[in-house]
């Protein structure tokens, strides 16, 4: 096990599954419910769940600004609702976005649950083997800015994107047994950490 500690925002949603996935990839995972906990981690996962609930719960024991400050310094990986929060351009007043991924994301874009689906997609960083992507009342990435790199698409629709140190997926890698995307995120956290250590040394 490395000495990295990655947090998973534990307000609501599939946070335990993300923590299990990180642990299985050899990283200490911590469920984050309080602002004080952010000082002990160097990367954060914002899980799927309901983006309205996540927005509503900000300001009780952890603030929107706490996450904003954290994401300015450390990598954040958002899945589904987490992607919506990381993105921009969602016109829904019930949602407050962080804007760290320059991508316009729209909520629940495929219809009701009966339209939820699975699809085999190709990861740009590991194209040899398909990734089994599970889309649940999924958001759609409508457009991306110049800083954004598309790491996987479904048709012509980006579904996995990165911008600098941040990563976002409209599907749920935490519900599979395939940890490649989590490992990719862990690598980003490692690189940022190593960079910071070198600067302070």
């Amino acid at each position: 096990m490395s000495d990295l500690r990655i947090g998973v925002l534990g307000i609501q949603g599939a946070y335990a599954r993300h923590a299990e996935m990180l642990s299985s990839a050899g990283v200490a995972a911590e469920i984050i419910k309080y602002r004080e906990q952010l000082s002990g981690i160097t990367g954060l996962v914002i899980p799927g769940g309901e983006s309205t609930t996540l927005t509503r719960m900000m300001g009780f024991r952890i603030d929107y600004e706490d996450i904003l400050n954290f994401a300015a310094a450390f990598p954040v990986f958002g899945t589904c609702a987490g992607l919506i929060l990381l993105g921009t351009g969602c016109k829904d007043p019930r949602i407050r976005q962080l804007g760290f991924l320059d991508a316009v994301v729209t909520r629940n874009a495929y219809g009701s649950q009966k339209e939820s689906f699975t699809e085999e997609i190709t990861l740009a960083f590991d194209p040899g083997k398909h990734f089994h992507a599970i889309f649940i009342r999924a958001p759609k990435i409508l457009s991306t800015g110049r800083s954004v790199r598309v790491l996987a698409a479904y048709g012509n629709q980006p579904v996995l994107i990165e911008s600098g140190m941040h990563l976002g997926a409209s599907f749920h890698p935490e519900l599979t047994q395939d940890s490649r995307i989590h490992r990719y995120f862990i690598q980003k956290v490692k690189e940022i950490n190593d960079g910071k250590t070198r600067r302070t040394a």
């Binding site: 419910k33 009701s112 939820s116 649940i136 009342r137």
Partner: protein, 293 residues
């Protein structure tokens, strides 16, 4: 593209974890629920407490009423069908509800069989009083299990009984010898393969939520500490004196269920909870939890 796989159905159950699902009977209530941070709303014409008082046959709600609520909110919408009434379930799936509750709150349509839920693309939640009942429903394809509790009473005692029973029976399976599992499956009246899975993994194969009698933040915390992963609140919110703050309080209580300081702060400002009726004062034939087989 493949739709309706079990992992997609159970996946929505995973997304509801750590949240609160609220019963609502109109658009205004649905908006209050969403605004308070509910992860989902259950659209129904009457809340369980009123179904109890009203008597008569309780059926699936009018699709028009469900659709109005669906248009008003962005969170998943659930609706109830009668136990065994697969035609009601087909209609609910057709109009696009996100989750179907095959519920003992409504008058059962079949006194021997539940719906074969594997035929549907939309996920189902079913109630249980013990592990055998939970595993029978999972065998039929349920993607989510909840306790039955005693709906519409505001009395948590039955939900506690059911959750404790399920968790105790799960723990028991994990310590039994492999050669004892078949007989245990026989006693539980549960499918052997699922019994074997639970014995190996120490949990249900689908998320396990609490329902039936939750009225306060403390009730929600109690159920979470006993092993629930999310809480349904039926009559508890809109029968109380202060639906909006109570809804918000219960949402916070589920996230911080293991933090008494947060729970104290959350509970302080609330007015009277629903008056409720004692579940132990009900005749056996009045208990909704006895419906389902």
């Amino acid at each position: 593209m493949k739709k309706g796989a079990f992992e997609v159905k159970a996946g929505l159950s995973e997304m509801l974890k750590g949240g609160v699902i609220m019963d609502v009977t109109n658009v205004d209530q649905a908006k209050i629920a969403e605004d308070a941070g509910a992860v989902s709303v259950m659209a129904l014409e009457r809340i369980p407490a009123d179904i109890r008082a009203h008597g008569g046959i309780a059926r699936m709600s009018n699709p028009d009423m469900i659709l109005k609520i669906r248009e008003a909110v962005s969170i998943p919408v659930m609706a109830k069908c009668r136990i065994g009434h697969f035609a009601e379930a087909q209609i609910l799936q057709e109009i696009g509800v996100d989750f179907i509750d095959e519920s003992e709150v409504l008058t059962p349509a079949d006194e021997e069989n539940h719906i074969w839920k594997k035929d549907f693309r939309v996920p189902f939640v079913c109630g249980c009083r013990d592990l055998g009942e939970a595993l029978r429903r999972i065998g039929e394809g349920a993607a989510l299990i909840r306790t039955k509790g005693e709906p519409g009473t505001g009395d948590i005692v039955e939900a506690v009984r059911h959750m404790r029973k399920v968790m105790m029976q799960i723990r028991k399976l994990t310590i039994l010898d492999k050669s004892e599992l078949m007989t245990e499956a026989k006693h539980l009246g549960a499918p052997f393969e699922i019994v074997e899975w639970v014995a190996e993994n120490g949990r249900l194969p689908v998320p396990n939520f609490a329902a039936g009698g939750v009225a306060t933040p403390a009730d929600a915390s109690l159920m979470m500490q006993l092993g629930a992963e999310t809480v349904f609140v039926g009559s508890g919110i809109f029968m109380s004196d202060d639906p909006k703050p109570r809804a918000e309080a219960i949402v916070k209580a589920v996230t911080h269920y293991d933090d008494p300081a947060a729970l104290a702060e959350i509970s302080k400002r609330l007015k009277e909870a629903m008056v409720g009726i004692s579940a132990s004062g009900l005749e056996e034939k009045e208990k909704m939890a006895n419906r389902g087989w």
